[in-house]
Point group: C2
Chain length 158, copies 2
DNA sequence: CAAATAAGTCAACATGACTGACGTATTTTT
DNA sequence: AAAAATACGTCAGTCATGTTGACTTATTTG
């Protein structure tokens, strides 16, 4: 009982997670670079694409960054016509965010790269693996945020 | 055949991966903050801990950062006695890196947090899930780097 | 002895986070 | 109708972590 603060160390999964995530995000980086964008732009573009008409404050909530951090990249995305803003119909203080056609196309190219990597991995694995993987990633999320994330990802696949 | 550049979009896994990785790295951040360290310090400490006596150039290769980036955080870790350097016995140009007791202890605390999160997830899943997850993460790594990563992670678990 | 290698260091810069304060338009509450 | 709250934007300054390129020092190798 005295020495039983032991936790099986999971060095293998810790390190695999690190390398996997690095390469997973590395794919889009190449395309983003060409436009002078970074990962911050990717995240904003992605979540606006997936949540058309999202409010700025909800986007901040999802990304868990500050208004200032978002402001910079959002401004660039708007200036370069990847994202457009429209005043809310009900509440005109809001600037609802949408991807433009240019933004949608670019976002699709990025998602395709990442989906390809995922699909190639899943194809090499036993049937039903994708459900296991989905479950694992879901359980790795903070318990009190899971339902919120579940709500977010259960969107039409376009 | 003309429209067959279609790739099943994996928005669910893309987003789950994003949120899972964020929370996975969020655990250590709290402890790191208390010491004025960041994720860069964590990575260096981790890989030195897991590869005692590693050469600086090999560490650069693993982390894929520049000498200058490494230099800054490594200097802090050495100054604050988390890592020590010893000249190589065969080649005295080398400064082989080891964690001190202080460094080892701290690193263990961090790994424990991450292992706990992983274990809690795996426990809720069907038997054999950890092998599926391991396989998935492995296949998400760039093909030409997999063997190198495999070599890295196949270390004694202490 | 010359060349290559391992490591450290300097200066300068970019990105993307942060804080805190303040402005403006609009809606809600009193 | 005035006051308070809200949604959003913006300014100024800071920090962490990454980059490049050039240069030094110690040591090993050809």
């Amino acid at each position: 009982m005295s020495k039983k603060d032991s936790v099986s160390p999971r060095f293998d999964l810790i390190e695999l997670f690190f390398f996997a995530y690095r390469d997973f995000t590395g794919d889009p980086d190449v395309l983003l670079d060409e436009l002078g964008f970074g990962r911050a732009h990717h995240r904003v573009l992605h979540f606006v694409h997936r949540n058309p008409g999202i409010r700025v404050s909800d986007l901040l909530e999802i990304l868990k960054i500050t208004k200032q951090s978002l402001g910079r990249v959002l401004k660039q995305l708007v200036d370069e016509d990847f994202i457009c803003q429209e005043p809310g119909a009900l509440d005109r203080r809001q600037r609802l965010l949408y991807t433009t056609e240019k933004g949608t196309d670019f976002c699709t190219r990025l998602s395709k790269l990442q989906s390809q990597r995922i699909n190639k991995a899943i194809e090499l694995m036993p049937d039903g693996s994708d459900e296991i993987v989905r479950q694992f990633l879901y359980l790795m999320i903070d318990e009190n945020e899971r339902s919120e994330v579940a709500r977010l990802i259960s969107k039409q696949t376009d």
